[in-house]
Symmetry: C2
Subunit: 118 residues, 2 copies
DNA sequence: GAATCATATGCGAGTATTCGAATATAATGA
DNA sequence: TCATTATATTCGAATACTCGCATATGATTC
């Protein structure tokens, strides 16, 4: 039954494993938006936006609500926002580590900058 | 520069978008393990384990430490454990919602169980 | 009903992932 | 040096993803 959980997690991750879809989820952070609004805000082809939304739906990341002519999307669970937030902090932690390493490398080999790493 | 962050996030997600790799990260939760230990605990082909570990390395999810003959892996940042933990809670929340829906459906159509949802 | 707007789906090409089998490398010990 | 152990890399086939283009569906308005 643990397998089911890992399967579930990996599908969530797969759903989020694309920058466009992450942008969509981030835009939905503060409330629902229609497919058209998402498409416009992200400058996507209509079909492409719809395909990405289909993935997010399939992976249970968003839910959709039909209102007349259009379809409104919202995040199914705030937990996912929390996940993105953790990764944001992680990113900056990583970033400063990297910057520190670069600074250190620069100090150790001050003559040439950018000593190509293979 | 927000694009870079989304790119980064999506790569992390891509790295975790596979049940085997999730299992690896979970096994590393309590400390480092060698490639061989991971392979054995998960019953993987040696090459396959190594490939998955390469992905986890490439996506900056784990770090490796060589000790003599073998290579020990550990999680680069506890944040990732936290992410998995959030998804675990999310999973059970989803699960009970689903169970509730099924119970409700069963109550509404008590004669036949499993009215195939297409 | 016809025209239109919002969204979804199907198709095909290009690219990326995943796996097992085979091979390569690197450290250890005889 | 040779053999052995631990790990990594390469290759090829199968599968999956992503995109643009074309087409389909569904609601609204005339």
């Amino acid at each position: 039954m643990d397998d089911a959980l890992r399967q579930f997690k990996s599908e969530i991750f797969q759903g989020l494993a694309n920058p466009t879809r992450i942008a969509m989820v981030e835009l939905l952070r503060d409330g629902e938006l229609s497919a058209g609004q998402l498409m416009q805000k992200l400058g996507l082809e209509q079909a492409n936006a719809s395909q990405h939304l289909a993935v997010l739906r399939a992976k249970q990341i968003v839910v959709s609500r039909k209102a007349g002519n259009q379809v409104y999307y919202s995040i199914r669970d705030r937990a996912l926002i929390e996940v993105l937030e953790i990764l944001r902090r992680y990113f900056y932690a990583q970033l400063s580590t990297t910057v520190d390493l670069l600074k250190q490398a620069a100090r150790e080999t001050p003559k040439t900058r950018a000593s190509s790493h293979k």
